[in-house]
Amino acid sequence: MIQCLFLLSDAGDVILEKQWMGKRVERSICSWFWRQRSEKEDQDPPSVIASPTHYLLHIVREGVTFLACTASEMPPLLGIEFLCKVASVLENYLGGLNEDILKDNFVIVYEILDEMMDSGFPSTTEPSVLKEIIAPPNLVSRVLSVVTGTSSSLNAASPLATSSQVSWRASNVKHSNNEIYFDLVEEMDAVFNRDGFVVKCEAYGEIQATSRLSGMPELSLTFANTDILHDVNFHPCVRYRAWEADQMLSFIPPDGAFKLMSYRVKGLKNPPLFVRPQLSSGEGICRVNVLVGLRGDPGKPVDAIIVQLPWPPSVVSTNLSASVGTVTYSFSTKVSTWIIGRIPKDKSPCLSGTLQLEPGINRLEEFPTFLVGFKIQGTAVSGLKVDKMDIRNVEYRPYKGFRAVTRAASYEIRT
């Protein structure tokens, strides 16, 4: 089981440590870990590695490394999921995550870590429940200002006396404005070969929800077309039987932000953008010509189009210009970045120019891969549509919001 947790800054310094077992793990393990990282030219090592004395599990969030140590066998996903949970709870509590924020709030961080794990095994990790036990920082300061010295802080006694029937939600949630929002976020993975053919195209989606509803609301959400979903994962609040029987999401939501479900879309055929690269090299020069355009009509405008062109080490300098948008080149990373934004109606974006190769190298030996980014607001590329959402077991009528967005996750063009 997890013995301890270290939070490391982006320079490898220990910001904070929490030991959960009697046997302490020395801080020197952190320097061992950091050496592994620097040996690999600051590439992050795998999330699970073995040091001479311990197994180390880690994740990196916003530049902060969450490093857990264990000396015994354990399910690795349990450890990593726990670290992810710690990171998200802290971020949620502190309104951000970086070295300074952590240092300003370490008392509360200790309190949280103390509740999230006992004897190396995760205990209370649900943010809404934690908030009843430990007041978020702003509340602490309010309490501080009215402290009289006679009464215990206001959050201590009540919640534990009345345990809730669902573990992810307190029984006494109250909001003055009742509202719930759903964000349908889909990410595309696609690979195109140098002839423009689709090698692979997939999409993954998530429904992120933010609930601010009083009482114990019973929600049900139905979709117009669930047949396109290949595999689904649910938040623990979702009743699986209802999904199996009626393809309906039936649940009592946790309070606050949560991931309601995630899914994989099968057989996606129409990636929204094409990119045609042409590279020809000889005599120490490589001529570049890249065209970008829409493939079919995604229904909503494609925004924030950006093409990254990482060049092989043999490229010394670039001389590229674009008909639409701007091109910049970073000498240190050897990456050209072409920011297009939205494709204008009357012009098709084209990038052209030359690359200077290292002396002695005639032609480009490696074939670079271009990476494309874009965003489509207002539509899910899979076509998944929410049909309706009902709410029961409460008196009020909440405000309901739905949004959809599609993003490129890993959209690669081979040359």
Partner: protein, 814 residues
């Protein structure tokens, strides 16, 4: 620095006096001041400054109603109690008082702190508070108390057992209404009973009861009440349960099927483990399980954070390697993303290789060829090797051969090198393709190849297909001319063979070549090259035809190359699904949780500091240690019968000899040795003297290296030897005895009548870090014998070392 620490000292002194003033004060606003001071102390503690000198002041101020101050105080006390056990006694009072507080939160926190102090003298206070805590009407307090029992067990196992806490936890397990309390009871019980089972039969029975049908199903039926983490715990327990009949298996799977849809990957993986374990002996269902778990795994690797998806991918990798056919239509999921780190790409390339079949081969090879143009050299190599492997595994190699030959045209040195090695294997398996391959290989410039393996491959092809390559004698000649510059014996050996082969086929052009090669070989400092040179020479003395029939007889195509991935190894890791070892792809390491090690602790006197501090190889869970090593031997025993390494001194195999044999001096060999002297010269080499072994008195080996070597080396020798150790009560006497014989102990454990030792020794004259002998020695005191397994880095001396070890055992008397 000095000024800084002086400054800090001043600050701490000031904190001390401020805290003093506050103690006992009831002035308004005092809590607020306290909070700020405590915060300061805690912040010093956090950044690693020692504030333990404030202990008594901190305790004096602990009377507070402010929860946050209380928590800070608990935190501080927990951190320093072990350093100040005497002062920590001061905290007992206020912690015990807080355990009676009206607020359940404070009761819980205080109890948790009390249990975390881990000071031996406090055990009696702890027992009372725990007993109350387990009966508290508030769930939070009972949760803390259940875990507290586990903590108590770690501090004082006897106190925990004698106070019958195990029975209390057992009854709570089936009766407590709070799911988290039940989960904590389960967690504590599992751990205590595993550790306790070596000590008592009762613990064994308790453990059986814990895994009984009644308990398993009562937990399964309310699995949705548990938190996601507690579900993992329950699932882990279920995976150890053996159903009585298939119906029960199906019941469990039905109950758990929706867990595969859980958003927490830890729950999904734990469920998969249950499914795999339950159906392991039901072949058809097992296969359906694979089909069922595929989708959730593929979703997890694509959608989670990179850290999660790597861990899941490692598990998927295991399943794919075990049953590649079931994944052959999912190959696109294993395509590498540009941004994947190289360790992920490596896993994916291996999976692509495994799932390649006749239906998807073309796409997969096309994809792998893309990676061959990757900027990352490591990935390029992996990709090329993968293409080669697919070609060797599948019959339809038409398209693949073209692909490989295209690699040669890329004109990148390491691509060419990797490809040459593969082309060599390919023509050995598919001689019908040799013509096409050799045509292309002939165009490769021998100067662009630096890597020994590639050079050897090219030279092999030149020798084998010299009839198809016009300039083969001249290419080989230039290699022989540079004999002295060639560092790798592997290449020189290959060159000698190629020179002989070409001589049989095209004697007029290559007579000189062979003569030069033989002369160079006989002069070679490397024993193998030298021996092979002499061997060829003597063969040629018997006549050219005889020599040819031995050196280059007609060959049959190689039908199968040995699978590098040992399938037994894979199966073993498979038993450990959902464990860290899957990610390593090595069987579980034997790490030691040092806090449980008491039973097997070494005492320092055993290891005089001027010799070698006996490594404390973690031996806490003795069973784990025994189990893992035993398994390993059963595996390696298959491939290494007694006759192999045992007879090594008499018939040394080339790789085992290494540098232990002194180079044959050049004076043995006539200087003007050439083809003209082929007949009439009689060279005789004296037989090597039998090796004598002297052990280093101060070998240095750390436990990590020991484990690594242990897992890599085969068992060279195993034997039983009598030992008079009837009255051996601890491991110490034997440790000391062996140390006198220059045999050091790496780890030891066990209790009378069975002890287990890991020893090591090193050859005195060897290079640092080489020439180690590793020994596992099981001593059965009652039977008066020791079972010994020896692993050796230098097989020439295995027998000598074993004799030494035996005599050391014989001379041990207690």
């Amino acid at each position: 620095m000095n000024a800084d620490s002086g400054h800090r000292k001043g600050e701490i002194a000031e904190l001390k006096s401020q805290l003093r003033q506050l103690a006992g004060s009831r002035a308004p606003g005092v809590e607020e001041v306290k909070r700020e001071l405590y915060k300061k102390v805690i912040s010093y503690m956090t950044i690693g400054i020692d504030v333990s000198s404030l202990f008594s002041e901190m305790v004096m101020c602990s009377a507070t109603s402010d929860l946050v101050v209380k928590k800070m105080c608990y935190l501080y006390v927990g951190n320093y109690a072990k350093v100040h056990p005497d002062l920590a006694l001061l905290t007992i009072n206020f912690l015990q008082r807080d355990c009676q507080d009206d607020d359940p939160m404070i009761r819980g926190l205080a109890l948790r702190s009390l249990c975390s102090l881990r000071v031996m003298n406090f055990v009696e206070y702890l027992v009372g508070s725990l007993r109350k805590g387990l009966k508290d009407n508030n769930g939070y307090v009972r949760q803390v108390a259940a875990m507290g029992v586990l903590k108590l067990y770690h501090i004082a196992p006897t106190a925990c057992i004698e106070n019958d806490f195990v029975a209390t936890l057992k009854s709570m397990l089936s009766q407590d209404p709070d799911a988290q309390v039940v989960a904590n009871c389960l967690c504590a019980l599992e751990e205590i009973l595993v550790l306790e089972r070596t000590n008592s039969d009762r613990a064994n029975k308790d453990r059986e009861m814990l895994h009984s049908k009644q308990i398993v199903f009562s937990l399964l039926n309310r699995i949705k009440d548990f938190s996601e983490w507690a579900q993992c715990l329950v699932l882990d327990m279920v995976s150890k349960y053996i159903p009585v009949d298939p119906n029960e298996t199906f019941d469990i799977m039905n109950l758990l099927e929706d867990r595969l849809q859980h958003s927490n990957s830890a729950v999904v993986l734990a469920t998969i483990k249950v499914f795999l374990q339950l159906t392991i002996s039901m072949a058809d269902v097992h296969q359906q399980v694979y089909e069922r778990i595929k989708a959730p795994l593929l979703t997890l690797i694509s959608s989670g954070s990179p850290e999660l998806s790597y861990a899941v991918l490692s598990h998927l990798h295991l399943l794919v390697m075990r049953a590649p056919i079931l994944f052959s239509s999912d190959y696109k999921h294993f395509y590498c993303r540009y941004s994947d780190p190289s360790y992920v790409k490596k896993l994916k390339i291996e999976m692509l290789t495994a799932v390649a079949s006749e239906s998807n081969m073309y796409e997969i090879v096309t994809e792998l060829s893309e990676y061959a143009a990757n900027v990352d050299v490591g990935i390029t190599r992996e990709a090329i090797r993968a293409v080669g492997k697919i070609a060797l595994n599948l019959c339809d190699v038409n398209a693949i051969v073209d692909r490989l030959l295209q690699f040669l045209e890329m004109e990148r040195d390491y691509v060419t090198a990797e490809t040459l090695v593969l082309v060599k294997d390919l023509v050995r398996k598919y001689p019908e393709w040799s013509h096409d391959c050799i045509a292309v290989v002939g165009n490769v410039s021998s100067k662009s190849i630096q890597e020994p393996k590639a050079k050897a491959a090219l030279i092999w092809m030149l020798g084998e297909y010299s009839h198809d390559m016009l300039d083969a004698p001249y290419v080989l000649e230039s290699f022989v001319d540079n004999w002295l510059e060639e560092d790798s014996p592997e290449v020189r050996l290959e060159l000698l063979t190629a020179a002989a082969k070409i001589f049989f086929k095209r004697p007029p052009e290559s007579q000189k070549l062979l003569g030069a090669a033989l002369a160079a070989a006989v002069d070679d400092p490397d024993q193998d090259v030298h021996d092979k040179g002499l061997f060829y020479y003597r063969l040629l003395q018997q006549g050219v035809q005889t020599a040819e029939s031995i050196v280059n007889p007609p060959k049959k195509a190689v039908s199968d190359f040995a699978d590098i991935q040992n399938s037994e190894m894979r199966d073993r890791i498979f038993d450990e699904f959902n464990s860290l070892s899957v990610i390593y792809r090595e069987p579980s390491y034997m790490f030691l949780d040092k806090e449980h090690r008491k039973l097997y602790e070494f005492s320092d006197e055993a290891a005089p500091t001027d010799v070698l501090p006996t490594q404390k190889l973690d031996a806490n869970d003795n069973d784990l240690l025994l189990g893992a090593f035993d398994k390993e031997e059963s595996q390696s025993g298959v491939s290494n019968g007694d006759d192999g390494p045992l007879s090594a001194p008499r018939s040394p195999s080339p790789t085992l000899l290494g540098d232990s044999v002194p180079p044959v001096s050049a004076s043995n060999i006539p200087a003007a040795f050439g083809i003209d002297d082929l007949l009439g010269l009689n060279i005789s080499t004296p037989p090597p003297p039998p090796p004598s072994l002297v052990l280093s008195s101060k070998p240095v080996l750390d436990s990590g290296t020991f484990q690594k070597k242990w897992s890599q080396l085969p068992v060279a020798l195993s034997f039983e030897h009598p030992i008079s150790a009837q009255s051996l009560k601890t491991t110490q006497p034997l440790l000391r005895h062996m140390q006198e014989k220059s045999v050091q102990c790496m780890a030891s454990g066990g209790q009378s009548p069975t002890f287990k030792f890991f020893f090591f020794a090193q050859k005195a004259d060897g290079m640092p870090g080489t020439g180690f002998f590793l020994v596992e020695c099981l001593v059965h005191t009652s039977a008066g014998k020791a079972s010994v397994k020896v692993k050796s880095e230098d097989s020439t001396f295995t027998a000598a070392f074993s004799d030494l070890f035996k005599s050391a055992l014989s001379s041990f008397i207690i």
